[in-house]
């Protein structure tokens, strides 16, 4: 599966489609503020979707490691966490860039922005934790447990608290729903680019992660010989 190339070709095709048609597709005009910058929706939001998926896979491998402590499970868990965190940073950066033009400043102290920063700091602590230990088995075990905690912290910081207060992001008190997930809220023209975008960017994250995993497995094999 890691070496199969069909899903890599699919990733390339989807992302080429998104990066070209995403700029040409007719987007809805709601008021005089958002306009064409809404196209960032095809980049910023899939970064977060990709992050959630990658971090969820990391969680699964962390739990697998706790059940069956093999080095492979640990390598999978840490690699998916690394690329998931990278996607999180891409999400925050594209968000700040968008906010600069849309909300007037790159950082408005918006609940979701703060929540995202906190969530990413928690995952950065995961890597600090890993780096602080030399014994491989202890490193893998303790970081697997921390991984579980870090993943479940994503929910209050990103999904729950920002919806309980007033927020600039859609979903906060006083604004409606989540256009990314609620299919009915999203304009048809945007939907035909958005769904392929989510799949494409996630596949890209998986591709990068599998390359990391394969290289680390090669190092492992070299050390054992």
């Amino acid at each position: 599966m890691l070496r199969a190339y069909w899903w890599k070709i699919l990733c390339i095709v989807l992302l080429m489609y998104v990066c070209s048609y995403g700029f040409l597709v007719k987007v809805p005009r709601l008021d005089d503020r958002m306009q064409q910058t809404i196209r960032n929706f095809f980049f910023h939001v899939p970064m977060w979707f990709g992050m959630m998926i990658l971090l969820m896979v990391s969680l699964i491998y962390a739990i697998k490691y706790l059940n069956n402590p093999t080095t492979t499970n640990d390598i999978y868990a840490s690699s998916y966490a690394a690329i998931g965190t990278l996607f999180g940073f891409m999400g925050i950066t594209t968000g700040a860039l968008w906010a600069n033009y849309q909300w007037g400043q790159p950082w408005s102290g918006d609940p979701k922005q703060n929540g995202a920063a906190i969530a990413l700091l928690i995952y950065l602590a995961y890597f600090v934790l890993r780096g602080s230990m030399n014994d491989d088995e202890k490193k893998a075990r303790i970081s697997a447990v921390y991984n579980i905690f870090a993943f479940f912290m994503l929910f209050p910081t990103l999904w729950i608290l920002p919806r309980l207060t007033q927020s600039l992001h859609p979903g906060g008190q006083g604004s409606s729903g989540n256009p990314g997930i609620n299919g009915k809220d999203l304009d048809y023209h945007m939907r035909i680019v958005f769904y392929p975008a989510v799949i494409g960017w996630t596949l890209l994250g998986v591709w990068i992660t599998t390359l990391r995993i394969r290289v680390q497995l090669l190092y492992e094999k070299k050390e054992n010989n």
């Binding site: 390339i12 040409l24 306009q35 064409q36």
Partner: protein
């Protein structure tokens, strides 16, 4: 062989996408004033081209790394 298949697929995608430029003429004709600035001065295509070039370059890099890792893995066995 893999690279040839990729080149063929990419070629189809690029040729297919270039047909969009023909449609763009009719869409631009019904443009809405201040909104389609980038489209009217044609700069949106520059944005798109820049991003596509970056993406293609990145995919070429990823693919070459993938192939190198494949080769290393085959050597190990």
């Amino acid at each position: 062989m893999m690279l040839n298949k990729l080149k063929r697929i990419l070629g189809i995608v690029v040729l297919g996408l270039s047909s969009l430029y023909v449609n763009a003429q009719t869409v631009a004709a019904t443009k809405n004033d201040s909104v389609d600035v980038m489209r009217s001065n044609g700069k949106i295509f520059v944005v798109m081209a820049v991003i596509l070039i970056i993406m293609v370059g990145f995919f070429i890099y990823l693919f070459s790394v993938d192939r190198k890792v494949c080769k290393l893995e085959k050597e190990k066995h």
